[in-house]
């Protein structure tokens, strides 16, 4: 993945990201870590094109991200809470997207939905609505939905934030199974073992800035006091 961030600023009521400049090349799975409120979720939303920054530019793999509707169609996003449409079954959550926004026929959509749900070990849950499955199953269905549009990049924003340790493991195992899928990943998480296993590059954010970044080995050798403190808290 070739990522270039230039003069990126974003504010809601307060400044969340302040003049971010960053670039990297060749890595396929990038983890963004940091304490709550450090700007990780904002950054991942901006990188996915879901939100527009106050100012600045983002380019991923040579494509302008901001305001680019075509780019949005090439990404998948997994939210903190599964964010499936609650009135639709797991299967319909996928087929609706494929039929209405990707021009697939009903049969094609069904076939893709089934194969993605099977990939996430949910073949026996396809006709249930989200509230009738476990949090882990719903989150895996959300990953299946993100995969169903055949994205080039998959964004995961703390996909296990609302899950207990067993369900967290269930979801992260499902994500790890995608390692050889040919997709690229940018994800936010607090599960450091997953970062070590799955990421090939790590970005540590602190107070709206990229404070440290490097290979996953950096987790064992934090340079700054802030990162040391963070690592001591998440271990």
């Amino acid at each position: 993945m070739r990522l270039i961030i230039e003069h990126l600023k974003h504010e809601y009521d307060v400044q969340v990201l302040n003049n971010l400049n960053f670039s990297l090349d060749k890595y396929k799975s990038i983890a963004i870590i940091g304490v709550s409120g450090s700007g990780k979720s904002t950054l991942i939303r901006l990188l996915s094109g879901m939100e527009k920054p106050t100012s600045g530019n983002i380019t991923i793999n040579g494509v302008e991200v901001i305001g680019n509707e075509d780019y949005k169609k090439k990404v998948g996003f997994v939210f903190q809470n599964h964010n499936l449409f609650p009135h639709l079954t797991l299967k319909k959550n996928i087929t609706l997207v494929l039929e209405k926004t990707r021009g697939k026929t009903k049969e094609e959509a069904e076939s893709i939905a089934m194969s993605r749900l099977e990939q996430m070990h949910l073949a026996d849950q396809v006709n249930k609505i989200p509230k009738n499955v476990s949090g882990g199953q719903a989150q895996r269905a959300s990953i299946a939905r993100a995969l169903s549009v055949d994205p080039e990049i998959i964004f995961l924003d703390e996909p296990t934030a609302s899950l207990d340790p067993i369900l967290t493991n269930e979801v992260l195992t499902a994500v790890e199974e995608l390692r050889d899928s040919g997709k690229e990943f940018i994800f936010v998480t607090h599960v450091m073992s997953f970062v070590k296993d799955f990421a090939d590059y790590v970005i540590y954010m602190h107070e709206g800035q990229i404070h440290e970044h490097g290979l996953p080995e950096m987790l064992d050798k934090p340079k700054t006091e802030e990162f040391k403190k963070f690592m001591s808290q998440v271990r």
Partner: protein, 250 residues
Amino acid sequence: MNKQEKVINYSLALLTFFALILFVVLRQTQNFTLEPFENILPKILPSLGRTLFVSILSLFGSMIIGFIFYLMSKSKVKYFRALVDVFTEIIYGTPLLVMIIVMAFVIGPAFMSGSNSQAGLHRLGIIGIIIYMSPYMHNVFKAAFSSISEEQYMAMDLFGFTSYQKYRYIIVPQVIRILMPPLMNNFSLIIKGSALLHVLSYPEIYQLIYSETLRNFFFIEGFILLWAMYLIITIPLSALAKFAGMMLEI
């Protein structure tokens, strides 16, 4: 509460009320008769029909205006939002009876000349109910639409749903489930509120029975009859609201 428990508890509650009614009836010292109202029997159904007609009209009218208020309250134009807030405060502090009278005799004539005919007054009275209920409907819409999380809108945008598709397949099917029960409750309020149209001599059920009591002086019987008439309409509606809520529950 499982189904059997529910049946038992509701049966007990009904029995309690029947016992209370029986107690009250047995304690009465004067005779109770509906005979003086026999002469208006043929008019009861048409009057009930008119009550329902104005209520349905007011329901849809206030839904439309309430939805417009909802859109205004979500507008980027702060003036629209302020306008809705101020209007809501005014209505919340206004009794429905005052609204009907003021609409029929003050506000309405200012906008429509020749509105002082009987039919014109009735129309303005109904408009009064519509205007009065609109902020309440606005609240119903606000609550229903707020049930769709910001992240769902983000997901819809990211997948590339068009506005029509968002509303048709995702927003409306969810909102309607939440909308139904409070909408039915507001409908019940409108039905009861429509009784106030009698001040404009609109021939709905309250006006029919109340005018008869003025002739026969059987006030208590008249009001009990009225009570029964409104319960005949509102209890099935309330049951329908509960049923709709249950069927549409996510």
